[in-house]
Amino acid sequence: MEEEIFVSGRMNQLIDPQLNIWHWQIPLYLFLGGMAAGILCIAALYYIRGREKDYSTAVRITPFIAPVLLVFGLIALFIDLRHKLFFWQLYINIRLQSPMSWGAWVLMVITPVSFIWCALHIRDIFPRWDWKYKWLYDIESFFNKYKKVLAWIMLIYGIVLGIYTGILLSAFNARPLWNTSILGPLFLSSGLSAGAAATLILSKNIAERKQFARIDLVLIGIELFLIIHMFMGFLASTQVQIESAKLFLGGPYTMSFWIFVVILGMLIPALLEFMELGKFHVPAIVPAVLVIFGSIMLRFIIVYAGQVSRWLY
């Protein structure tokens, strides 16, 4: 039996930071950033491969969600800061060892790029759009000339943004649950799958919908593979990581993780998409919404459970 008493009265949520570091803002941002990264990556990839005509929704329409997501994500990040008026300190320092510094600078690049990408496609939503001023037309034609470069920037920074949302957590060795490099690819594939789901909702073209159902199916497979790998790694690791895996294998997060993330967020949408690729007709919105829901829940559960996991004294 081991018992610990904190004489100073430290066992209290106000004092013990491990109970009080990050709330809803960070997991919400991780989801919004990840989904925006997924949308932009898919759009850039199909544009670069010259498939703009076949997958016009993914390249021209869905990216309009991305800047909205990014702006809301930035607002959530700002709300999370405790010393708000000093936020600009992020942008006068570059710290290569800090994932958060990487993230701040990546957002600084990809947010304007996503706005420019939308501006270039604004006539797909408002056919009679008029920029009113000549200099705005000049800017538009300038970026139209270098659209391929823009797409490459969007693809590379999108991948960095998607991976960074996971690496942000895995850099903290103090929280054993987060301290696994699998979170990077897991959050990237989850973000890509949420991005594909957005196109699945918006697309009116059956061929495009089928293609994105196929993409989503592959991504869900990758996610399941990574989740199984993550738990294999935890269970074969040190005691602290075994304990953190137990949070999901019988511990307090078991039900929420396996029901909301794995069954509702991955297995059922995968089954529905599989049926749709066959002869059944499934409304595309159902698996897509489930995938997005699973993607949100994954972030929330990992962020909250990670703050419970700790080193053992």
């Binding site: 904190f6 004092i15 930071p17 010393h83 300190q89 320092n93 004294y313």
Partner: protein, 177 residues
């Protein structure tokens, strides 16, 4: 120069004088603490073993909080003391999440605050408040690189341990066992 601290857990009685001295000296806001006392009880009655530790920031050599800080507010000051520059801190919480000892807390003014080894006292030749006030004189503080300093002598003479060395942070708060 490499400052470190050692707490003799054979002498510590857990009176919490160090906690109060620290809160008074550094004007720590109500409800928070830069240092705290942990009492662990091991075994089953009647074979019980008790260990009382006065704990604070470990001023690690390989400090994860300094590595994770996105603005450079967390930095190494002279003698390896880990400090937070208030006007550079944005209060993002990355350092708190990265500390395996949970040694930091968010100050109500917004920035993140922690033990400074009372750097203002060290500079004028005084010991940190906790070491100065300890009634059993169980807290040793000094320069590890000076072989004749208080702490070097006592760490050579006695067996010691650090907390969770397997976290790889190279902590500089020793416990004499």
């Amino acid at each position: 120069m490499r400052y470190a601290m050692a707490v003799d857990i054979r002498k510590c009685v857990g009176c919490s004088d160090c906690v109060v001295a620290c809160q008074t000296e550094n004007n720590v806001p109500h409800g928070f603490c830069r240092e705290w006392v942990v009492e662990t009880m091991n075994g089953t009655y009647p074979q019980l073993e008790i260990e009382i530790r006065s704990e604070r920031c470990n001023h690690c050599i390989n400090a994860p909080c300094v590595r994770c800080c996105p603005t450079g507010a967390s930095h190494f000051a002279e003698g390896g003391i880990v400090l937070v520059e208030h006007n550079k801190c944005i209060g993002c919480g990355a350092c708190m999440a990265s500390c395996p000892y949970d040694a930091r807390y968010p100050h109500p003014d917004g920035y993140v605050d922690k033990c400074t080894f009372c750097i203002h006292r060290i500079k004028s030749g005084l010991a940190p408040a906790c070491a100065a006030v300890c009634p059993t004189k169980c807290i040793y503080f000094g320069d590890m690189e000076d072989p004749n300093s208080n702490i070097s002598v006592v760490l050579k003479k006695r067996k010691s341990k650090t907390l969770i060395p397997e976290a790889g942070t190279k902590p500089q708060l020793y416990f004499l066992i």
